[in-house]
């Protein structure tokens, strides 16, 4: 099991979520972050005073997947998050030791399996 953490532009979210759902991976958690990287800062001006803001709004996707689904998920994110301009973001893959579904207390990769039947329905 792996945990995928992707930092992306806001605009990419809808397409990624739709595609992943079609692939049977509807599960994810999304949060707002501010990020800095290669992308340059921008200037804020207020009453004549200026400052440069290096942290720009991004979305963070967290997706726990079974080992076999990692590539599917990464490819989907790459496909939709890519614009070619600085600031497109990064994807990180972390090892995941255990996953537990709170509703049923099930454990292990069954919790993360693709829901292909659901998606088909």
């Amino acid at each position: 099991m792996k945990k995928i953490e992707a930092f992306i532009r806001h605009e990419a979210l809808d397409a990624i979520r739709d595609s992943l759902e079609k692939l049977g991976l509807p599960s994810m958690s999304v949060s707002e972050v501010k990020g800095s990287g290669r992308q340059k800062g921008y200037t804020e001006t207020y009453r004549g005073a200026r400052t440069t803001v290096f942290l720009r709004p991004k979305l963070k996707l967290e997706i726990a997947v079974d080992d076999g689904d990692v590539d599917k998920a990464v490819d989907t994110i790459l496909e939709h998050a890519h614009t070619g301009q600085a600031g497109d973001g990064k994807i990180f893959i972390l090892p995941l030791e255990e996953a537990i579904r709170v509703r049923t207390a099930e454990r292990g990769s069954v919790v993360l399996e693709s829901h292909v039947e659901d998606a088909a329905a």
């Binding site: 605009e11 707002e32 800062g41 921008y42 001006t45 942290l55 709004p57 991004k58």
Partner: protein, 449 residues
């Protein structure tokens, strides 16, 4: 001045001064309404627009606008009495009232009319929210207040040809509201819908960021309307502003009820924004007939004025016209309905002349009302299309997609309208925006959250 005349002048002027202040206050209502119905990322730009609009209106309406309504005797177009000196009553009366004794202080008279012009201008903007370029809009504002609105107003209130035909519009359902909404329609047609408004052929909700601000704005409009309509008696003595006030409140209340019922029916939800728009629909509808109909008719007029809003909102979505605030249904369609309603419900003792079709059985007044509406719509639509079109093909009417997605505040004004909350707004950094539009900075210095 002699005692009684001085008292009469003072009393009339106090009342119209108060009414003018109430109508000026409507700018706060429009500001809240527009800002509440726009996205957070554009909130500061909305406020900037309101201020520039009102300011331009004040100066331009003094320089030329008022003269184009009341100066001279032309029936169709023209005027005199520009750059008015309000401290000289005699000259004022000479320029605008054929030298007659004034029933209002010149400055009060002008202030009241200015407030109306500013309302009409404020309405235009509603359809153009979230994507309009400030510079282009400012140019339109000058022309609208200088010539377009005054010409329409001249035809009726300036004693022009429509007035001579017996067209009635007590406080401006057509002259102020329909005119504003029509210009807004022209504007939104030339601008096109906001990015993301229509997807796969269907309208997508782009909810305004604050219903509380928007609806408090509408309460303020309601309050301001207590100057708008009752003040259109243009005096206090021997003027029944009480009837007008009562009718206006009844129609507003009925408008809310009408819109609520219709929203539940056609939208399957008691939409908060429609409740608010319904109040406006009722108020706009009663604006023309408020002095000419009995209270029961005011209730009917308001009910229909408000009830029309939700279906028209849905219709506009269907034909892909993007009107974020509902200016077209609430000011335009309700304005048409209200103007026509005089031809249906007008009472002879109140109009001082013809009776409405449903009251007196005679369609004559309805016919005059009808062509009054048509020419008002026609002239404003054509004029606005020309002016906005000229702007579009020269300096441009709409910001770039990147600026629109990023938000007008940071891209046009250098700072967010809500600096401490901005993390939440998606689209703050759009696909494809060119770095240089943000004034990129290469030497790292400092950052803030």
């Amino acid at each position: 001045m002699e005692g009684d005349a001085a008292v009469a002048l003072a009393l009339n002027s106090v009342w119209i001064m108060v009414a003018a202040v109430l109508v000026l206050f409507m700018q706060a209502g429009f500001a809240l309404l527009e800002v509440g119905f726009s996205r957070m990322k554009n909130a500061g730009a909305v406020m900037a627009k309101i201020f520039l609009n009102l300011s331009i209106a004040a100066v331009v309406f003094w320089a030329v606008g008022y003269g184009f309504i009341y100066g001279g005797d032309a029936s169709f177009f023209g005027g005199e009495g520009f750059f008015i000196d309000f401290s000289d009553s005699a000259a004022f009366s000479e320029d605008f009232y054929g030298g007659e004794e004034l029933s209002l202080l010149p400055g009060v008279d002008w202030f009241f009319q200015l407030a109306f012009a500013a309302v009409s201008l404020a309405i235009v903007f509603g359809t153009m929210l979230d994507r309009m370029k400030m510079a282009g809009y400012v140019i339109f504002a000058v022309i609208f207040v200088a010539i377009i609105y005054p010409t329409v107003a001249r035809w009726t209130w300036g004693g022009g040809w429509l007035a001579q035909d017996g067209f009635l519009d007590f406080a401006g359902s057509s002259i102020v509201h329909l005119a504003g909404a029509t210009a807004g329609l022209a504007g939104t047609l030339l601008l096109g819908p906001r990015i993301g408004k229509f997807k796969d052929g269907k309208a997508v909700p782009i909810p305004g960021h604050s219903m509380p601000l928007a609806l408090v704005g509408i309460i303020i409009l309601w309050v301001g309307w207590m100057g708008f309509n009752p003040g259109s008696t243009l005096g206090a003595i021997d003027a029944d502003f009480g009837l007008v006030a009562a009718n206006t409140n009844l129609a507003a209340g009925a408008g809310v009820i009408g819109a609520s019922l219709m929203a539940m029916w056609v939208m399957k939800t008691l939409d908060v924004s429609q409740i608010g728009n319904g109040a406006i629909g009722g108020l706009v509808a009663i604006t023309a007939p408020c002095a000419f109909v009995e209270p029961w008719a005011a209730v009917v007029i308001g009910l229909i004025g408000g009830g029309l809003v939700p279906p028209i909102v849905m219709l506009l979505d269907k034909i892909k016209i993007d009107d974020p605030l509902g200016a077209i249904p609430a000011h335009g369609v309700a304005g048409i309905w209200g103007t026509l309603a005089i031809g249906l419900f007008g009472v002879a003792e109140l109009t001082g002349d013809r009776e409405g079709l449903l009251v007196g059985g005679d369609a004559e007044q309805l016919w005059v009302q009808f062509y009054g509406v048509v020419v008002t719509f026609g002239i404003v639509f054509v004029a606005a299309l020309l002016v906005f079109g000229a702007i579009k093909y020269t300096i441009g009417l709409r910001v770039s997609p990147a600026e629109e997605l990023t938000g007008l505040d940071i891209s046009q004004h250098g700072m967010f309208g809500y600096p401490e909350r901005f993390i939440e707004v998606p689209g703050a950094e759009p696909e494809g925006i060119s770095e240089s539009e943000f004034t990129p900075v290469s030497s790292p210095s400092s950052s803030n959250t």
